[in-house]
Amino acid sequence: MGKRVGMEVSIAAAEVVGLCDVDVIAAYPITPQTHIVEHLSELVADGHLDAEFVPVESEHSAMSTCVGAAAAGARTFTSTSSQGYALMAEICYIASSLRLPIVMAVANRALSAPISIWNDHADMMMARDTGWIQTVAENGQEVVDLLLHAYRVAEDPRVLLPVMVNLDGFILSHMIEPIYMPDKEEVQRYLPPYKPALRLDPRNPMTFGPVGMPEVYTEAKKAQDEAMKGALPVIVEAWKEFEKHFGRAYHPVETYKTDGAEILLLTMGSVSETAMTAVDKMRAEGKKVGLVHLRLWRPFPAKELVEALQGAKAIVVVDRAMAFSTQSGPVCVEVKAALFDHGISTYVQNFVAGLGGRDVTVEDFEMMVAKTSDGLAKGLPMTYEIVNVRE
């Protein structure tokens, strides 16, 4: 039996990765991801984890090592943040195109300049179109659960795609929380041993990552897109299975007090917990407000999202990253497109909040709801606004 422990979330993430029987870990330390791989290196050095820890000289090499190891049939893990992600991005495309089930935890952090080590979702958004599956954790328990889920999904023969588990830097990574930590047997019951579909082997040589002439590249991308779309039901299935094993349920789109809600907040990541408090407060005041939480970012669960959002009079989408000069922040653009494609023209107001580690408070959510309500009543045009920016 596993046990309930008080633990820093980064340490818990490392512990659960250790329980997953990883073969190769390659990483370069970057704030606020550091504690995750630091603890993994300790587990390996102390003999608690029988894995190869490769201390590389850059994130580019970390992902390259993971690609090589995964191609050879190893279960691999890495973790990064912000500029580190930016440096490994080149190889991230290769990992997904080669269909290698690498798992990576990203302690979300703002991108420079100015240099910020604090949390927002700029790195997650940068990874948007790399072909990686992306799940988003809300608290420490979810980091542990989503990492376990990540290996199960990534290595499913129907998926075979890398998975990125996003956790808010510092807000989650450095928080000490009560966490239910499964034991090895529980993990093994949920996660079967990794059997690669194809692997580099001198006894059966093959060519990974060949040149793709114009005659074949489009087809290669189509095949990859189909794999990504096909991953959605497998992700949901793996969550259902997770619920059977551990009793905790996850969905691509989750709702909180949405019954009879006229205004719906839409958030992603740890800020959802603050949003729930704000919803509780506004509900107590008689305001018909609810929360929709996006757990899965890629593949984008458009249908599930539209189901959760339809019926509301207005939607408040809270983005944690900029998409300069576009119609709105990256999450809101997707939301608007999904609604449009389903023939729904709800009033959507977008707020970009919590950039570079600025707190997003209950009062901020109240302000966003009030402004949206006002905009809806006055028929103001839909727009995006940066929360609390000093004029």
């Binding site: 195109s97 080669l98 093959m206 074949v216 189909e226």
Partner: protein, 97 residues
């Protein structure tokens, strides 16, 4: 199938576009994106082999008479052979469709 023409349906591609055999770069027809082709004038050629030495794609091979012949399947038309030829025996000629 595919190997010669590269034309396949997306469903026919192996996982991750993998090729099930090694050394497949040899089969990559790099010559099909050439816009200029090198043509050797054998009256000027002194069989020095500079074209063979400098060719970055190993396109040239020696014939029985000692001349050097380009394999257009691989020749990208870079023009290095023409530039290096000490007798100006190699001319770059426009490819025609």
């Amino acid at each position: 199938m595919a190997k010669e023409t590269g034309i396949v349906r997306w469903k026919d591609l192996a996982l991750g576009c993998t090729l099930m055999e090694p050394g497949t770069a040899a089969e990559l027809k790099t010559g099909d994106w050439r816009s200029m082709r090198p043509v050797t004038n054998r009256e000027l050629c002194i069989k020095c082999g500079q074209c063979y030495i400098f060719c970055p794609d190993m396109v040239y091979s020696r014939t029985a008479e000692g001349y050097y012949e380009a394999n257009y399947y691989y020749c990208k038309g870079c023009g290095i052979c023409a530039r290096e030829c000490p007798k100006d025996a190699i001319q770059m000629v426009q490819e025609e469709k």
